[in-house]
């Protein structure tokens, strides 16, 4: 919480942004790059969403309706990769680019040219990702990627050239993530306003500091893993090829050493958004700042040493599975602490329910539900039954949609007036919220029952006994998917105009970013604010 003692008189624009394509291609401005990240993420959200709707359309009834089995598996793979690497991570990076410099009183990111590079690698990576999807449709293109996003060998060693495109795409995405993480860490360490120590930073900035370190620690391991996969495919090595003395399970360990912390990479920035939103609309200071910081750091360290709970069924020793089970359950303590801190912030607050707050409350409820099913899955004997069932699909969508995507939506609604200078249409936004949340629950809640009844995931056909719940899920998915067109409309409408937003936008908002006008000038904080 901050108190402004003087109105800002700085930030007069001596020159405006460059004009035309140059502004975007050559941009070193954190706001423009943040905007590009967010637009890119929105495009990818629609692509990933379209693939999800195709998957659910196919699963509306048993038997084969629209898709061939290989294409179905390809869509499952691409849906996950697009959503994780193309939509959620760039959207979170977009928020980071926009908000971190404004929140810490920095004139820009520490390394603006590298910031430009981090972004412009992404479209190239997305192109490679798309090519991996379409290449099999051309003569000589080989087989489709049917591995799922986990790319497990030996299947990934047998797929055609589309897998090479995918590996290259992952390399590019990894480079982009590492460069962006370096930039964020350096910005937070070196560019804070004079007088702002680490324990005075907004929690959103803290979440990104932890996330960036997490990315630095785990993305290179994935890069190493997929490079070994590439070597096995083309250069005669046998890292994962059992016939040559390799071990396919080794890849699983490498992948999940990245894959599990990746869940926290996706969730933490959204939890940082909640730490901004909830105090604003509860009109109370954030409860337990220090414990939130401690929880995040604990999540980072514990999250890195529990990866093998994704692989209970591979036949690990009893000691190993016991360790991973206990570690996984322990991680629910810091995660639960974060949730309870947010609830305590709301406790006896003068709450109002504008769209960002509606999302915040919904996130706490639905994410907690996903967390509870996570504890079920952490328990080894139970997981032996649930493994690779639709229950797992329901679980991680309850974690990742509320925990990551809805948090980003909340952040977009919260900061959109600051970015554009216009208020969004609150009535439409609330309609979007309700359709979105109802559609989400209709889609994924029945999948718990399907999984418990024995329906496996990643398979195009199913037993006729699963029909009704699948129909409900598919109808929900169509409602959920189409609701995002309304989001697009609201965003475009807000950019084009609307009621002018004040500098503070929200009555209860506190922090440096609200000291600047809405929209902030092209160059902001050219004179650093002094924090006392």
């Amino acid at each position: 919480m901050s108190t402004a003692t003087l109105a800002p008189a700085n930030d007069h624009e001596h020159h405006g942004p460059p004009r035309g394509m140059r502004r975007w291609l050559m941009s070193t401005n954190h706001k423009d790059i943040g905007t590009m990240y967010l637009i890119f993420a929105l495009v990818m959200l629609f692509l990933g969403g379209a693939s999800a709707m195709l998957i659910r359309a196919e699963l509306f009834m048993p038997g084969l309706q629209l898709l061939e089995p290989d294409l179905y598996n390809n869509l499952v793979t691409n849906h996950a990769l697009i959503m994780i690497f193309g939509a959620v991570m760039p959207a979170a990076a977009g928020l980071a680019n926009w908000m971190i410099p404004l929140m810490i009183g920095a004139p820009d990111m520490a390394l603006p040219r590298m910031n430009n590079l981090s972004f412009w690698i992404l479209p190239a990576a997305a192109t490679m990702l798309m090519l991996s999807f379409v290449v099999p449709f051309f003569p000589g293109g080989g087989s489709q990627i049917n591995t799922g996003w986990t790319l497990y060998p030996p299947l990934s060693l047998q797929v055609g050239m589309s897998m090479d495109f995918l590996i290259f795409a992952i390399h590019l995405l990894g480079i982009s993530s590492v460069l962006a993480s370096i930039n964020i860490i350096v910005t937070i360490f070196n560019m804070r306003a004079p007088g702002m120590n680490l324990m005075q930073m907004p929690i959103f900035v803290w979440t990104w500091l932890v996330t960036a370190f997490l990315l630095i620690l785990v993305v290179p391991v994935l890069a190493g893993g997929v490079t070994m996969l590439l070597f096995d495919r083309h250069f005669g090595t046998s890292f994962f090829n059992a016939a040559g003395g390799g071990d396919p399970v080794l890849f699983q360990h490498l992948f999940w050493f990245f894959g599990h912390p990746e869940v926290y990479v996706l969730i933490l920035p959204s939890f940082g958004v909640l730490a901004s939103i909830i105090p604003t609309f509860a009109r109370k200071p954030l409860f337990g700042y220090k414990s939130l910081v401690g929880s995040m750091i604990a999540i980072m360290f514990i999250g890195m040493v529990v990866w093998a709970h994704h692989q209970y069924t591979i036949g690990m020793s009893l000691a190993a599975v016991s360790y991973f089970m206990i570690g996984t359950i322990i991680i629910s303590i810091p995660v639960g602490l974060m949730v309870f801190n947010y609830i305590a912030t709301m406790w006896r607050g003068s709450m109002t329910f504008e769209t960002p707050m509606l999302f915040a409350v919904a996130i706490l409820l639905m994410f907690s539900f996903g967390g509870l099913t996570g504890i079920m899955l952490a328990v080894v004997p139970a997981d032996m039954q649930y493994h690779d069932s639709m229950f797992v699909v329901a679980h991680f969508h309850y974690v990742l949609l509320p925990g990551a995507v809805f948090g980003l939506f909340a952040g977009v609604f919260y900061w959109l007036p600051k970015w554009t200078g216009n208020m969004y249409d609150e009535r439409l936004a609330k309609i979007f919220f309700w359709i979105n949340v109802i559609g989400f629950n209709l889609t994924f809640f029945p999948q718990h029952f399907l999984g418990l009844a024995g329906m496996p995931r990643r398979i195009i056909d199913y037993n006729i006994m699963f029909t009704e719940f699948n129909m409900v899920s598919s109808v929900g998915a169509m409602i959920f998917g189409l609701s995002h067109l309304l989001l697009l409309y609201i965003i475009i409408k807000t950019i084009r105009g609307g009621k002018p937003a004040s500098a503070r936008v929200w009555e209860g908002a506190n922090g440096l970013e609200w000291e600047l006008p809405s929209p902030p000038p092209f160059h902001s904080w050219t004179t650093a604010p002094q924090i006392k």
Partner: protein, 63 residues
């Protein structure tokens, strides 16, 4: 956490500022920190134990 923000009212300090010795020193510090983190990331990749384990296996099983 309570903090007070003070900003200069002096309009000479507004807008784009010429680079000062402090700015140049900060820029150098930024680059140094970035290199340190980048090299650390490289170290993480190269020292992934199975990576070296695999390399050893290639070296010893080569015909």
């Amino acid at each position: 956490m309570n903090r007070t923000i003070e900003m200069s009212n002096d309009k000479q300090h507004a807008g784009i500022q010429p680079r000062t010795a402090n700015d140049i020193e900060r820029h150098k510090r930024n680059i140094r920190t970035a290199w340190a983190i980048g090299l650390f990331a490289l170290l993480v990749m190269l020292t992934s134990i199975p990576f070296w384990q695999g390399l050893y296996r290639i070296a010893t099983s080569a015909n």
